[in-house]
Symmetry: C2
Subunit: 595 residues, 2 copies
């Protein structure tokens, strides 16, 4: 990676130019830097976000950050954790009264960390920046992009030319790159230059005021996330790190008779309004860290890419109200999706066409996000959202917005057909996350979280649920033989037996290639409350046969790619080949996979 | 604290002089520095332990380090974790075969972290040193103590005079202090100067070789703790951080016909011996980080103190084989025990006599430790310890050595007698740790670990298990009234209701003083596998009545002090007063506790 024509100066050729060092740009940069790509990353701000802005990390994103080894650095900032949302409504006289509470991450979602993590964006950015520094990438700031063009015919290897300048206009630079990524937020220069329009899903626009600070109050739920409606208006309360509180107040809506997107309010006006709304409780500000007013319209970028060389992601592609707390999380996943696909293509594993799946996959997620946000925002601004209403609004998204993401797009693009694929009983679904499960690692008897055992490394993870060793012995041998003897950087393989740890002998029970991954062999011998009667809880949670086993392939971004049975002969490898052949460079239909 | 006669120069007067910056000295220093005491801390080594030495942190110590906010810094070093011990014995021919495994922390112990954490002592020392720096304490090194005297008549406030010099002899210093602590290890200068003898519990002495390094081997349990016996001798294997392994080999025993405590072996000889013992498996060293040979005799210091001004702790008081992995853990608890007692006395809360309990409490723990070590070491050196034998040897200590520690000493010293104390059903016992329990914090609905909710702060923790609010309303009001309106630095109070979080209204359900600790109010509404049928799992785990509640007092070092019923009238406060009056300065028998 990072190769360039030897006759040209090194410093002018990059694998990718990333514009914008917010969540989406930093995640992309961090993933690609770890894989050794040469990155030019610029941002037009002199330093990371000092205060305010996005601040909610959802459970799924926390798993992902943990898988990248970044969770503990984030948790060191002692963020607030939201487990429940409280609903307050008019009490009939002049005040408000709590009418219900609802779990932030309901119990039917089996999350390791069933809460939203809240801390300000700058602290999150710094965690990424410090990781980037370890890989030799420094954000060049304050610099802004001034122009770019992309022409594969002119330069097939480095088709993109990008120009920048220091924001004070004193320096200029032009480089060539294989890719350009615009992660500059709602007012994306890259998107505007490409002339890509925004489709507004909901014609209603809003003006929001948002305020961070430390308050003194006797309002009992000040450390909870609250939706408060009163005769005097509505507020959303979000707890923050360092004992701070964030208040969102809707200042104007395009449904108001006197609507103007320029309508504003001073911090004092918002504070006075908050005092009226919170009656009979009192509230005073000890410190005011940040206050901002901004108009928000819901919209999705018509395209996410120009030519699969210039890409957009994050807020540059989707804008919406801040209240669902999903913006940063969607941005992270945009970036992860693009990162592994660029890697797979550039490293010669996948066909270049794989990059065409970025836009449809991520656009569908954004559509779901906006549809959720739309319902949520309407409830909020139209007053009186009972807990049950919110539950209904978020029902088909589970608050995670993962439904259907991959199902239509990737499945439709996939010719893989086999009676082994998605066998009866399989609980995992393509495009969803693998279930979490505790297992015992065989080599050291450590109890570990299976879904975290393979750290993010850009590879596909192949989980062989090997059932009962006595039953699957032949199938495992056949599978291992067909996998061949080669290790591949694009696959990490682990094996989970439905047996007690002390019954497993790696040298005896694991054939060839598999026994070389000896640190990734597990005993499915931990009890799990979610499947209390299962003999092998991890098998049961995946919906894999506890005796005969099965194989689960998880994409580099954590989504399930395919689930197959584990059978004797070539059936299992044939099913995997059918999946991979759809986008891989090498044809593997001879039942000897290039894994 | 840190006051001294105003006519004398500040720099010559200290609250305490601590000699030795190993685990015991650093723990004492860290505790007292956090409470604001003025500390002179010296060590005769130029820098922290570079390699080798003690490296096992037991589950109970990990809880304690977590409670001090030091766990994550330790875990950042990615230590090895031992969940199981494997036993290997002669296979009848010339090799070894696994004959069993045993949990390192058996399931009947309800530990949050049921494993031993292994990393080298220097990394642990650095975590403490970095915490000390935050509190302005720097270890003065390489300096050694050259003399001391203690005379309360001559100087009642600063009775101890201590002299030091730089190890190169170039500088000298003499200071006065309220206390002197010798934590210099087995060859303690302070202990020798005091002429305190060592009682050897077991006349058998041993010479040990210990070796740290990275190995290449096909021995399947190389990442487990193993006890290996063969026709060629015995080895203990301990996994370490950074893929290292520690091997302990017994080189000589005083039971050998040719016994000499000076017997030694080179690293090469030990490696050759290990190769023979591990047959039929192979082992080669890729790196050798540390190798040392040392004679070990089991012994306990006859006294732990001269005059309750000069104290000893850690290895200066108890030496034993390294194999039980308890040395550092006992050292930590020696230090914590002394720290809170010095604080209680110096801050005017407790009578000076409280310091007399340090020696008997800690000596009994050391006796238990040696008795455990003795049995364990005998099994090890006499060959063929079946898993069942080890189980039997450790039965009455649970591998934690906490049994009976406080029971005899503190209980005997305690005149507290009341039918409310240790009510029927109470599962907590004086001198044991409080059970762990998940609860929901009322103010923010966070699910938390109750036993960790009050960070180490030198105070007694009063857990009011408040049962059902409707049942205990009167009892709580009476108790709060008798507590009086004052907060005390010596008590931190939290309240746990046997009710769902959303049924608890702090302003309504908590009287006076208690409602001021609003961040420390909890709902006992989490299901626990250990008490699956309990409606209020935390109450049930403590053995406290789920309706009527009860009060648990936990000492600053984490041991349960007293458990009482929660009753209407003055009974509960009378029981607490009886407990505290035994060692507190202020008489509180008027049923208005000075809490």
């Amino acid at each position: 990676m990072g190769d360039q024509p030897s006759s040209t100066p090194n410093s002018l050729y990059y694998d990718i130019v990333i514009v914008g060092a917010g969540p989406v740009g930093l995640m992309l940069s961090t993933c690609l830097a770890r894989l050794g790509y040469k990155i030019k990353h610029i941002d037009n701000r002199a330093e990371p976000t000092p205060t305010g802005r996005a601040d909610g990390i959802q459970p799924r994103s926390l798993d992902l950050l943990r898988n990248m080894g970044l969770k503990s650095a984030i948790m060191e900032n002692k963020p607030a954790r939201v487990y429940e949302v409280a609903f307050w409504d008019p009490d009939g006289s002049n005040g408000v009264v709590r009418t219900g509470t609802w779990a932030s991450c309901p119990a039917f979602i089996d999350a390791r960390y069933p809460f939203t993590t809240l801390l300000h964006q700058g602290l999150i950015e710094r965690v990424f920046i410090s990781d980037l520094e370890k890989n030799g990438v420094e954000i060049q700031r304050p610099w802004k992009i001034t122009g770019f063009k992309s022409d594969e015919k002119e330069n097939p290897e480095y088709p993109v030319e990008v120009s920048f300048e220091h924001t004070d206009g004193t320096s200029r630079e032009t480089v060539r790159a294989k890719y350009l990524f615009g992660g500059e937020g709602a007012r994306s220069f890259v998107r505007e230059q490409l002339g890509i329009g925004i489709t507004h899903k909901d014609p209603i626009a809003h003006v929001w005021g948002v305020m961070d600070g430390v308050v003194k109050t006797n309002f009992p739920d000040i450390r909870m996330k609250c939706t408060i409606h009163s005769a005097h208006g509505s507020i959303m309360v979000i707890p923050r790190e360092k004992n701070m509180v964030r208040l969102y107040i809707q200042i104007a809506s395009s449904t108001d008779p006197d609507w103007s997107p320029r309508k504003t309010a001073t911090a004092e006006e918002v504070q006075a309004s908050a005092k009226r709304i919170l009656q009979p409780y009192s509230i005073e500000w000890e410190t005011l860290e940040w206050y901002s007013v901004y108009p928000i319209g819901q919209g999705i970028s018509d395209r996410y890419t120009l030519d699969h060389r210039v890409f957009l992601g994050g807020d540059a592609c989707h804008t919406h109200s801040p209240k669902a707390g999903q913006g940063m999380n969607t941005a992270f996943l945009d970036a992860q999706n693009l990162a592994w696909k660029i890697h797979a293509v550039e490293a010669g594993f996948a066909k270049r066409e794989l990059l065409r799946t970025y836009e449809p996959e991520r656009k569908e997620v954004a559509e779901n996000l906006l549809s959720f946000d739309n319902k949520y925002a309407k409830l909020f601004s139209q007053r009186l959202p009972a807990a049950t209403e919110v539950q209904a609004a978020s029902k088909h998204t589970n608050g995670h917005l993962e439904d259907n993401e991959f199902i239509k797009t990737f499945k439709e693009a996939h010719p893989a057909q086999s009676r082994l694929i998605h066998p009866k009983g399989a609980k995992l679904r393509t495009g969803r996350l693998m279930a979490n499960a505790d297992v015992t690692r065989v080599v050291d008897a450590n109890i570990v979280h299976l879904e975290q055992e393979i750290p993010w490394n850009g590879s596909f993870r192949i989980y062989i649920f090997a059932g009962k060793p006595s039953v699957t012995s032949r199938a495992l041998k056949d599978f291992a033989f067909q996998l061949g003897g080669k290790r591949s950087l694009f696959f990490t393989i682990c094996t989970i037996f439905a047996a007690a740890r002390n019954e497993i002998e790696i040298s005896r029970d694991l054939p060839g290639l598999l026994s070389r991954y000896r640190d990734l062999v597990y005993a499915d011998d931990r009890w799990d409350r979610r499947v209390p009667d299962a003999a092998a809880a991890a098998h049961a949670k995946m919906g894999v046969d506890e005796e005969k086993g099965g194989v689960v392939v998880v994409r580099p971004d954590g989504y399930v790619g395919i689930v197959t049975s584990l059978v004797e002969g070539t059936g299992t490898i044939d099913a995997l080949n059918a999946y991979f052949d759809a986008f891989c460079v090498k044809k593997t239909a001879d039942s000897r996979a290039q894994l």
